[in-house]
Symmetry: C2
Subunit: 359 residues, 2 copies
């Protein structure tokens, strides 16, 4: 087991990464030091892993909320259901919420923990690659609004993250590939050597070779933990982690959060960010080709849905990256060097959107 | 104008108290430094004071959300409506929420600001005595759940509080009296001299004599600001501010949040807390009589609704003051000295509840 710490003063917490962690009863018992535990999971993950968690916590009161699989569970209505269960069981401020699932479950359960009684503890047990490398780390919680993703939420740090790499064995290939988009993102943002390591090891990752997978997860979490530790509430640098996300969120919203996995949309978003960077002259065209090639080898989609540039722009404008009416974009100066910019030519953005989303 | 500061490091903010503040355009403009402003108010207050606010902010984009008057507006559904308006107007992270109203409006608007895009700024302009002395200060925001009050919320500090004492002239007498319950609470918790000042000035306060009112509001805010500054998230001392509230919340919840004003329920709650303190022998019986007398002179109810001790106990147990299954009570050692206790005789609580709520 490897342990990283997200350094946030009194909100610091460990991320434990290793194979078979869910079968270590003492580890679960120590991570979940509460009498009353609300286990939030979905219909796919709960049958697979809730029994192991329940076995480790046999002496606690564990109540389950099982929601449907997929992004459609991230609504204010579902949040209300989770809160209803907390209230119905008279859970107090010392109760704990356990998120057992992917990013949707972590975001939903984390937000429920953030606002129930103005904040109770929660623990993340991420079961998708995407959640393991991204959404379980950093305390962003939220539900969606019909007008845009993650528009209702809170910063609420977990007290611990338990990442069992063995659970990826039951993850559908499509989901694993979606997670790789976020891994590639970290290389693009700030670690060219990691990007090159990914170019060399992408096939091993797709085959789920344990050593490669462990390294990719650990390095991804390490990069994210460092950035979050310096800028918890996204006042500056943390926005770099949104590389590909403003475009990706537009894809997800325009297609109703059902056709595209988040990671798939982010993958295309990375490509569009790179294309825009080439268009404004900061990124060499050859690097765009490398990004596209790596995404393809990871099994990810590279063509955006043909929703039209105007629709894409509309969904981008409600994204949280808007400041003073202008969308801030994360763009690339190089592979391994991203920057936040509101100072780009509108023409270049329009042309990029038309090229990728259709006129 | 008098100014107090709530000292919370990077979340510190001023409370400005004075007569006629809402007519000072420059004050409102400085307090609300955003292009896009969501004004949240209710059907009673908006016609009275929204025009003055709009006049001061003529150069901004001010969008209004007007909800019904009363506690029934504090629901997850109404929160959804407020968020819908923020989204529909494409308000970004730099938008600002202005709460113009009493405690319900402040709690609802503040929680909307807390969770929209994971937190945007908000400003409180409290228009009831209760909001001016209590709910506008300290950053507690929330909506209610059918199972209990304020069960869904956040700690989210305003960037400024503007308290115009002139607005109390349009406040119904019953609401003014309800606010006095919270004022009396501050004396009971930690300031015997202030309690005695209230005994001498209660009639002047009921007549709304400006000097008396200003002093009562300033001293109340000062006490609250000091306590909140030392314990923002209610890990300890801040719970003292809940004196009377666990009993009061049970009254409000058991009567559906409609028959009792919050302050009225708190007033009875103060009396029950004092009665319980007499029963366990920490408070002299003569002090209970003084509390009852002051509440009566303030025009407040002193008889609890006859909902029965069992019902009262049930509603108390879902209140947020529960820890490890036991209700923590705020009790009195003297007038001017409260303490938090989970270490009381259950028999004494049962007897107190039977005496006050009926068998």
């Amino acid at each position: 087991m490897q342990t990283l710490t997200v350094e946030l003063e009194d909100r610091s917490y460990p991320i434990n990464i290793g194979a078979g962690l869910l079968n270590q009863h003492s580890l679960l018992q120590a991570a979940l030091p509460a009498r009353d535990i609300l286990l939030v999971s979905n219909t796919i993950v709960a049958p697979l892993y809730a029994p192991a968690v329940r076995a480790a916590l046999a002496d606690r009161r564990v109540v389950e909320v099982i929601v449907s699989d997929g992004e459609q569970a991230k609504t204010l209505a579902t949040l209300g259901r989770v809160i209803d269960v907390l209230v119905a069981n008279r859970f107090g401020r010392d109760a704990l919420v356990l998120a057992l699932g992917g990013g949707v479950i972590g975001d939903l359960a984390g937000f429920a923990a953030a606002c129930y009684q103005r904040g109770i503890d929660f623990v993340q047990v991420p079961t998708t690659l995407l959640a393991q490398v991204d959404s379980s780390v950093g305390g962003k919680t939220a539900v969606n609004h019909p007008g845009g993703k993650n528009l209702i939420g809170a910063f609420h740090q977990p007290r611990e993250v338990l990442t069992d790499t063995d659970v990826l064995k039951t993850l559908p290939v499509r989901e694993l590939q979606a997670g790789l988009a976020e891994v590639i993102k970290y290389g693009l943002i700030c670690d060219r050597a990691f990007f090159e390591w990914l170019e060399q090891n992408i096939d091993a990752l797709k085959r789920q070779e344990p050593a490669a997978l462990s390294h990719a997860i650990f390095r991804s979490c390490q990069i994210k933990a460092q950035i979050v530790g310096r800028d918890e509430r996204e006042l500056g640098e943390r926005a770099l982690l949104n590389l590909g996300h403003t475009f990706g969120h537009a894809i997800e919203a325009a297609t109703g959060y059902t056709e595209w996995l988040h990671g798939e949309a982010v993958g295309v978003g990375l490509l569009i960010a790179a294309a825009m960077s080439v268009r404004i002259g900061t990124l060499p065209a050859a690097d765009l080709a490398r990004v596209e090639s790596l995404l393809k080898r990871a099994g990810l989609r590279t063509g955006a849905p043909q929703i039209g540039a105007a629709t894409a722009a509309r969904f981008m404008s409600i994204d949280k990256k808007v400041k003073s009416g202008r969308v801030r974009l994360v763009l690339l100066d190089a592979i391994g060097r991203a920057r936040i910019s509101a100072d780009y030519a509108d023409d270049a953005l329009d042309a990029t959107l038309r090229e990728r989303f259709g006129a």
